[in-house]
Symmetry: C2
Subunit: 310 residues, 2 copies
C-alpha cells in the first residue's frame, strides 16, 4: 500500500527548522535572534532528531542558549515559493512559534532579544496609530496603487485601515506582504538595483525571516483572543495590569482596564495568591497566579480577551 504512494527516494530534499521565539521584555514584545537581530535561530532536521520539535529545540538551544518552552507549528514553505529564484535547490522550511519568559536580561552569546516593533513600527498602536502610517506608508502605497478606486488601493486601505476602515491587528502578515509587493521593504529588491530610498522604516532581516516573524505575530494576535497563551509569557505571579500590558504588547493596541479585569476574573483563569505587589507606583495591587486546573480545560475549550474584533 505504501508503494502506491511513493515512487522512489530520489527526490529527497533538505528540511530546515526555524523558530520564532517570543517573550515580553520590559513591556516590549520581542523575538530572539542571532546575527545582531537579523537571523532567526534555525538548522536542518537531522537523523539524530527524534521529532521535528526536538530537532528545533536542539538548534535553538545550541544557537542561543535559551530553552524552548511552549511551541506550535506555524507554516511550512518551500524555498522556491518565496525566494523567487526558480532554480534554487530544493529546501523546505518548517517554522514554529515559541512562547517563553525571557531568561537573563540580555542572553550571553551572539543572540539577543529585539522588539517586534523595530521590524514592524507600523504595527504598534498602543498609543494610537503611529504617525508613519499616514505620513509615510499611506502616500507611498497610494502612489504605487494608482487610482483611488483601484482594486489594489481598496485592498491596501482595508488592510491598513485607511479611508475610514478599522485597524485590524490580526492582519500583520497581509500588511507586510502588501509592502513587499509594493516594493517598499528592503527584502523586495535584494540583489536588484533600485530605489531603496522609498523603503518604509523598519529593520529588515535575513532571507524571508521578517515574513516568518510577521506570520508569527499574526498568528499570536489571533490566538491570544481565544486561547490562554499569554500565560506562557508571564512570571508565576503577576498583577492584572502586568497581564494587561502583555496582552497590549502582543495585540499592539490599548485595552480598557476595567473590562479586561472583568473578563479575566469572570472566566476564573486566575486566582489571588494573597500577596500584594508593593512596587506598582500607586495603590498596591493584588498578585495573581494562573489556575492550573482551568488551564487544562481552557487550553482545550477557549477563552475570551477584550481585544476589539474589528
Amino acid at each position: 500500500m505504501r508503494d502506491l504512494l511513493k515512487t522512489g527516494k530520489d527526490h529527497d530534499v533538505q528540511v530546515d527548522l526555524i523558530a520564532v521565539l517570543t517573550a515580553v521584555v520590559d513591556g516590549a514584545p520581542s523575538v530572539l535572534a542571532i546575527g545582531g537581530g537579523e537571523v532567526l535561530p534555525s538548522g536542518p532536521f537531522e537523523l539524530g532528531h527524534r521529532s521535528l520539535q526536538s530537532g528545533l529545540r536542539a538548534w535553538v538551544e545550541r544557537q542561543t542558549g535559551h530553552p524552548l518552552g511552549y511551541i506550535e507549528q506555524l507554516y511550512t514553505f518551500a524555498d522556491s515559493d518565496r525566494i523567487g529564484g526558480e532554480g534554487s535547490d530544493r529546501a523546505i522550511s518548517i517554522s514554529y512559534l515559541g512562547l517563553t519568559r525571557a531568561k537573563e536580561p540580555q542572553a550571553s552569546g551572539p543572540s539577543s532579544w529585539t522588539g517586534w516593533y523595530d521590524y514592524f513600527p507600523w504595527e504598534d498602536h498602543r498609543l494610537g496609530a503611529p504617525a508613519l502610517l499616514f505620513e509615510v506608508i499611506e502616500p507611498r502605497l497610494r502612489k504605487w496603487a494608482g487610482e483611488a478606486k483601484s482594486e489594489t488601493w481598496l485592498r491596501a486601505a482595508s488592510v491598513f485601515g485607511f479611508d475610514g476602515h478599522a485597524w485590524n491587528e490580526e492582519l500583520a502578515l497581509q500588511r507586510y506582504e502588501l509592502l513587499f509587493e509594493a516594493g517598499l521593504v528592503a527584502e523586495a529588491h535584494r540583489g536588484k538595483p533600485g530605489s531603496e530610498s522609498a523603503d518604509v522604516p523598519g529593520r529588515s532581516m535575513f532571507a524571508d525571516h521578517r515574513r516568518i516573524l510577521a506570520t508569527a505575530i499574526a498568528r499570536l494576535r489571533t490566538k491570544i483572543k481565544y486561547r490562554p497563551v499569554v500565560f506562557e509569557l508571564m512570571p508565576p505571579v503577576f498583577t492584572l495590569l502586568q497581564l494587561q500590558r502583555a496582552v497590549e504588547a502582543l495585540s499592539g493596541r490599548p485595552v480598557h482596564k476595567q473590562n479586561f479585569r472583568r473578563l479575566i476574573e469572570q472566566q476564573e483563569l486566575v486566582e489571588e495568591t494573597g500577596e500584594m505587589a508593593a512596587d506598582t507606583g500607586g495603590r498596591p495591587a493584588k498578585l495573581f497566579r494562573f489556575r492550573p486546573a482551568i488551564h487544562m480545560e481552557r487550553t482545550v475549550m477557549g477563552t475570551r480577551l477584550p481585544v476589539a474584533r474589528s
Copy 2:
C-alpha cells in the same frame, strides 16, 4: 550567512504531500479518497514541482482526476512523530485542506467521495447527539479512564461533552486523539494483538490518514465561523436553506434558520439573483449568489456565522 545555518546536505528526507479534499455531496460533507475510501490522495514532492501547492495539485489530479480548487496548508508531520516506530525512515508529510464543488456524481476511476461521518459517526449532531456517544463511547471511555474524578476522565468529559459539558464541534481532533489513546480505534492497535472488539464504530483509514482528516474537520469547523469559506463548496447560485445545510453539514450541528438568514443578509455576503428556486418542496425560495466584491474584503476581514460558541 547561509552557511551558518546549514551544515550539509547529508540529512535529506523524503517529503510527501497529502490532500484532504472536501465537498458537500447530497448534504453529506465528504472527502475524496482512493483505495476504496481508505487512503487520501498523496505523493512525494518532486524536483519537477514548482511549489508545494502545484505538486499537490499534480498528485491529486493524477490519482483522482478531480481538480483542486481552494487549498490551505493544514499541518506538517514527521513520520516518527506519529507512526510511533522510532526507526522508521525519515519522511515528512505536509497536509493540505482543499474545498471544492463535487464534480461528477461519483468520479470515474478508483477515487470516490465518502462522508466524513462514516469515519467519525460521533461527530454528526445535526439531529442531536448520536446515541452511540452515550451508549458506546461514554461507557468505554469511563472504563478506560478509571475514577470519575481522574484528570483523564475530566478531559474526556469536557472534550466529548459528557457530565453536563457542552458539545464543542471544533474539538474533532482532540476527540479522535483521545479515542486513539484509549485504544478504541483500529489505528491504535495495528500490528499488535489485542481487543479490536472494543473499537468504537467508524471506518478507519490507512496509516494516520484518519487523524489528518480529523485535523481538517476541526480546522474547517473553526474557520467557517469567521471566514467565508463555505462558498467554495456552493454552486454559483443557491438558496439560503442550501447554504444553511452546507454549514450544518460541516459544523455537524443544527442552525436556527431565521437567525442564520439575518446574519448572512446583514453582512451583505450574498445578493439576490432575481430568480426563484422552484423545486424547494414548499414555498419557492429566492436564489442568491455570493457577492464577489465583498468576497475579497471578507476573505481578509472576516465574517460571522451563527454556530454556537460553546
